[in-house]
Symmetry: C2
Subunit: 302 residues, 2 copies
Amino acid sequence: MSLLVVGSVAFDSVKTPFGEVEEAQGGSAFYFSLAAGFFNDIQMVAVVGEDFPEEQIDLLNERNVDTEGLQRVPGKTFRWKGEYTYELNEAHTLDTQLNVFESFSPEIPETYRDARYVFLGNIDPELQMKVLWQVRNPEFVGLDTMNFWIGGKREALIEALKHVDMLTINDAEARQLTEEVNLVQAARKIHTYGPKILIIKQGEYGVLMFNGSKIFSAPAYPLDAVFDPTGAGDSFAGGMMGYLSNVQNINDETLRRAIIFGSVMASYNVEDFSVKRLCEISYRDIEKRFKMFKSLTHFEDL
Amino acid sequence: MSLLVVGSVAFDSVKTPFGEVEEAQGGSAFYFSLAAGFFNDIQMVAVVGEDFPEEQIDLLNERNVDTEGLQRVPGKTFRWKGEYTYELNEAHTLDTQLNVFESFSPEIPETYRDARYVFLGNIDPELQMKVLWQVRNPEFVGLDTMNFWIGGKREALIEALKHVDMLTINDAEARQLTEEVNLVQAARKIHTYGPKILIIKQGEYGVLMFNGSKIFSAPAYPLDAVFDPTGAGDSFAGGMMGYLSNVQNINDETLRRAIIFGSVMASYNVEDFSVKRLCEISYRDIEKRFKMFKSLTHFEDL
């Protein structure tokens, strides 16, 4: 059963203390799909301009990503320029050019309308809903968002949250959304907005999942070189949703494993610029690092 | 086999967004001992002035803490005044009065000289060494320090590190000590200074242990109310060293469990001001929360 994702496809120019890239492939749907494609067939809904290279679309197709829903329209592809300092936890946006994204109106192909697993990547919540309404009978819907939409499109976002099963968000955004400092209390509030499952991303510190009253904590893998954090959240979501849509069984146990698969994908993603590492690794590498997460966190019970 | 600790005993005046206390009992040796006393007999080396209440010494004695090494000298007890904002991760020191601590010269009683487990709490590294040299044949030595000593007593600290098995430190301090941004690389450098085991404390995000090339990550328990973080690091170290000195067997497995016991003690400690919660709980509560840590972190391996 395939997994539908809507999000951005972009050219990212990124500078970190370890180097820089100009106009490398990126965007939430791009990172998500390449990570999720290890686990399942992906249906991608996004938009690019005339300048987007055909070979990148071939790359997606080779990696289990159906691009029938990827619109190519006149104009230039979305561009983002950002910089990270040594802390690496927060991107400083230097420039954003929406370009073809400005007038993007997602229309999903007929073949996508029966998708049961849907991930609404980090774009305008009104566009996220426009996609969701075109899916006939979704079984499990995840949504990602950010401070920009919490501040600027709060009402649309709160409306959207009524219709999703899982929200992924970082800790500062969880606080901003709920006006609660304490994350346990923020989680309780977010449950009342709709999502039964809340994933709080904490960058280099890992992830917290609030599944009703059950809490799961997973660390980020301590790497000896983090090159570029761009796309870490998207490849995390890709690994997580990819695994869940593959096992087709959502419960506390599969959610915990999904979070580890997501953390594995994010940990590889940050080891190089753009999607370079995601294109180098094999499923065996994913399993290997999954086991490393086990030994990283295991202790004997009483 | 008992556990010797040297550190401060203090009156703390603390203000958090949730309330404040004036001149409550605190100090690194005080928090450490009350936490460690759940696991083993403790020998405390510290100094107080004439104003320190006898009933607090009775409290220590009732909780397995031998106070023969607690000097009472003319003058006033060490005082610290600090404030936490909503973030709760960093204390802002408003006032420090060293008082009797200024001329503290630790002399350990003959009965303490055969201690096999030693914890050198966060004080001047020269005083830490002065204590260690009086112990005949220590088996396992832990040392805690802070930015103040890394900046002001760097040479003495580097010398001290040659003689300890385990260093506990927070992430900013690990970076400051090694001038490495990446924690894995910082850990490698610290191993070359002496300590085979490095515990990096990350506040609300938990703890990382570097045991040679093995890494263990433990979260902090997500509490729905954190009242006062003062003493969290000391009660963590107390739980950890208390457990290790009780099992008398240091290996990767016991170290991981020790970290969880430490995290349990820290999680109780922050639920109220001063040592109030540490005085309320029983060993059964500790076991109960240990099991909660297991369910917080557990996932099925592949």
